[in-house]
């Protein structure tokens, strides 16, 4: 049995999110070093503010400024900061109830060590040097033993252009392993062979194999080499060029039933004008130097296959 393959897989995406009136006001405020809460109908002030009362579900939008100082309601010492977290040196996670607020905000607390942190301790916001209208405009909290801070302003709304959206980049790192069956398929491709697996129950040969017969729900193990030639069972003509794809349009994308396979796989058809591709066309793979899978399939020159031969594979 060939070795099971593994490879790094990075999923990275800049999530662009629009903000409503409440979140927009809050994040605009942070940019201006102003912390805004929202008033509920029963008079509580929620910081960070939300658009709907978590108790009554009423829509709320009455913004009120709170102080940049507050009290730790609970905390946890983080000895080994992870990528993306607010501080690179050991810090405390803390829920902080700002003066004037009835709920607590989660953020990092910069302190020399766990002995310097306790529930009930007084802290204040340390602002980021550059602020863009995001929760990270608060760099962190820091210990503070002075009087409660005063709101910086008296009117509710901060100045400047309003923040209407955030871009939240996210990156997760994985080690992808395709498992036994697909590893065998990929390993065979490296020697320009195509290997499927036969279902022990219905005897169909699946390409690419996934280790299970999707019809019978049983494991497949018997390897069967298929192709290299095959038959176009159905196709479409692609007219829009995909980003980062170096293929001229229009081109043909087809389902191809390799000889000996009971399932069509898909591939691009080349070596023939796009408008002459047809169902039943006999094709063979074209490999480019160093490629790990066929670049495309081209006509073999054989007579077209009879419809009856491939109609079950459409």
């Amino acid at each position: 049995m060939p070795e099971v393959l593994k490879a790094p897989l990075v999923v990275e995406f800049p999530f662009t999110r629009s903000l409503g009136p409440v979140q927009g006001a809050f994040l605009t405020g942070l940019r201006e070093q102003v912390v805004l809460g929202v008033k509920t109908s029963d008079g509580r002030t929620l910081v960070p503010p939300v658009e709907y009362d978590p108790v009554t579900a009423d829509e709320i939008h009455d913004m009120v400024e709170v102080a940049p100082t507050g009290t730790v309601t609970t905390w946890a010492w983080n000895p080994a900061p992870r990528r993306g977290q607010p501080l690179a040196t050991p810090f405390a996670w803390a829920l902080v109830r700002l003066d004037g607020a009835d709920t607590a905000l989660l953020h990092a607390l910069d302190a020399p060590g766990p002995d310097a942190v306790r529930t009930g301790m007084r802290v204040r916001i340390r602002w980021a040097a550059e602020r863009a209208g995001a929760i990270t405009d608060i760099a962190c909290f820091e210990p503070y033993d002075g009087d409660p801070g005063r709101p910086a302003r008296t009117s509710g709304q901060p100045g400047g252009e309003r923040v209407t959206g955030i871009v939240a980049p996210a990156r997760l790192d994985y080690t992808y392993s395709p498992g036994r069956a697909q590893s065998a398929y990929i390993a065979a491709l490296s020697t320009r062979r195509t290997v499927g697996e036969r279902c022990p129950s219905c005897r169909k040969v699946y390409v690419p194999p996934r280790g299970a017969c999707p019809t019978c729900g049983v494991p497949t193990a018997e390897q069967v080499e298929v192709g290299p030639r095959g038959t176009v069972t159905t196709f479409c003509i692609v007219n829009i060029k995909a980003k980062n794809l170096d293929i001229e349009v229009p081109y043909v994308y087809a389902h191809i039933a390799l000889d000996g396979a009971d399932l069509a796989l898909h591939g691009r058809i080349g070596g023939i004008p796009y408008d002459q591709v047809r169902m039943g066309l006999r094709v063979e793979p074209v490999w480019t130097q160093g490629a790990r899978y066929p670049d495309h399939y081209r006509p073999t020159g054989e007579p077209d296959a009879d419809y009856d031969v491939y109609k079950e594979l459409l």
């Binding site: 992870r82 989660l106 929760i135 036994r180 996934r210």
Partner: protein
């Protein structure tokens, strides 16, 4: 809700349960390759074939695999021909079981296959789980799952509800009980270890593992035909609390309490409770919220501190509770599943065996 409250009066039971061993890595098998033996095992226990199953429901998460629509490939293991009636929840399989239970209550099906699976090994689970948090105010700070559980643990310690020694004892008891569970990942004495995020040490945190689990539900007489002592579901309910951690009292779990009440858990005492408490301090919260006395056997399987496969650990709690009833070791059991940070969402099922 309890069965009596629902419109139907069908009795529905868990009639079979199967699970894989929970392993730190399973990269030699794909998800469907990991899942298939469990599906076959649970079907074999009842003699049912896929084609006999009225409804199929699964739970899993794309964020664990790092791939979109990953659950569709797992369907290969079910054998979806002829076409099956199928659904999926992007949650722990306990919630897939809830959906299947309601489907059976409607009378549209008499049997249901529920399965769930999760491979945590491809990614960094602590980082992956940050992506379920509020994307505006919290996720950009990347607070990981241990950090959030540690905030809850400190709140409990400050409230005088527990201390670090008591938390260590919960972990030790769980892994001692797990010595009787061949599927568990972390069994026997384990050093309490260093702080991961203080006040939680490694011994207060669940092992990270991959696994799959499956149960079969059946209604009425069908359940009696398929199982000698069905585990009748007397009620299931699930409740959620506010997303913002700073709005909640982390020392309490009103959602778990309400779910238990609506599931009928407080109508008569239970003898067993399978709690999905991935962190030691969460067991303290749940024991109080669910009003479990010292006479209730809590997590005889070892619970989530011995094995906590994402998306399957909650379904396994229901399966373990049901299996205890099947074996005659319990007459009335409570099963609990959780999701989200600091016990944000909670599901409670009450299972009963008929008098012997």
């Amino acid at each position: 809700m309890t069965r009596e409250e629902s419109s139907g009066v069908r009795d529905i039971a868990v009639v079979a349960f199967a699970q894989t061993d929970v392993l730190r890595t399973t990269d030699d098998v794909s998800e469907v390759e990991m899942l298939m033996p469990v599906l076959h095992s649970v079907l074999d226990r009842t003699g049912l074939k896929t084609a006999d199953i009225g409804f199929t429901c699964s739970g899993s998460s794309d964020y664990l695999a790092g791939r979109a629509f990953s659950f569709t490939l797992a369907l290969d293991g079910v054998g979806a021909w002829p076409p099956v009636s199928e659904s999926h929840v992007e949650m722990d399989g306990a919630w897939a079981l809830y959906e299947a239970w309601t489907k059976l209550l409607t009378g549209d099906a008499d049997t249901a296959l529920v399965y769930s699976y999760g491979k945590s090994s491809p990614g960094s689970l602590r980082d992956v789980l940050t992506r379920q948090l509020d994307p505006y105010y919290v996720a950009p700070l990347w607070p990981d799952s241990v950090a959030l559980a540690a905030l809850q643990a400190q709140a409990l310690i400050d409230a005088g509800a527990t201390d670090e020694n008591a938390l260590a004892a919960i972990g030790a008891r769980s892994r001692q009980d797990a010595t009787a569970n061949s599927h568990a990942q972390s069994r026997g004495p384990v050093p309490q270890g260093d702080y991961v995020v203080r006040p939680l040490r490694t011994g207060d945190c669940p092992p990270i593992g991959d696994a799959a689990a499956a149960v079969i539900l059946a209604a009425g007489e069908r359940a009696r035909q398929l199982c000698e002592r069905p585990a009748w579901i007397r009620g299931i309910d699930h409740r959620i609390e506010a997303h913002a951690l700073g709005v909640r009292d982390l020392t309490d779990s009103p959602s778990a309490r309400l779910a238990a009440e609506k599931a009928g858990a407080f109508e008569r005492p239970v003898d067993t409770a399978e709690l999905h408490a991935p962190f030691s301090a969460q067991e303290v919260v749940l024991r109080t919220a669910l009003k479990l006395g010292d006479d209730v056997r809590v997590n005889p399987s070892g619970g989530a501190l011995a094995a906590n496969p994402m998306m399957a650990a909650g379904l396994i709690r229901i399966g373990e509770a049901a299996a205890r009833i099947h074996r005659g070791e319990s007459d009335r059991a409570l099963a609990h599943a959780t999701s989200g940070p600091c016990l944000q969402q909670n599901l409670v099922a009450v299972l009963e065996g008929e008098p012997r």
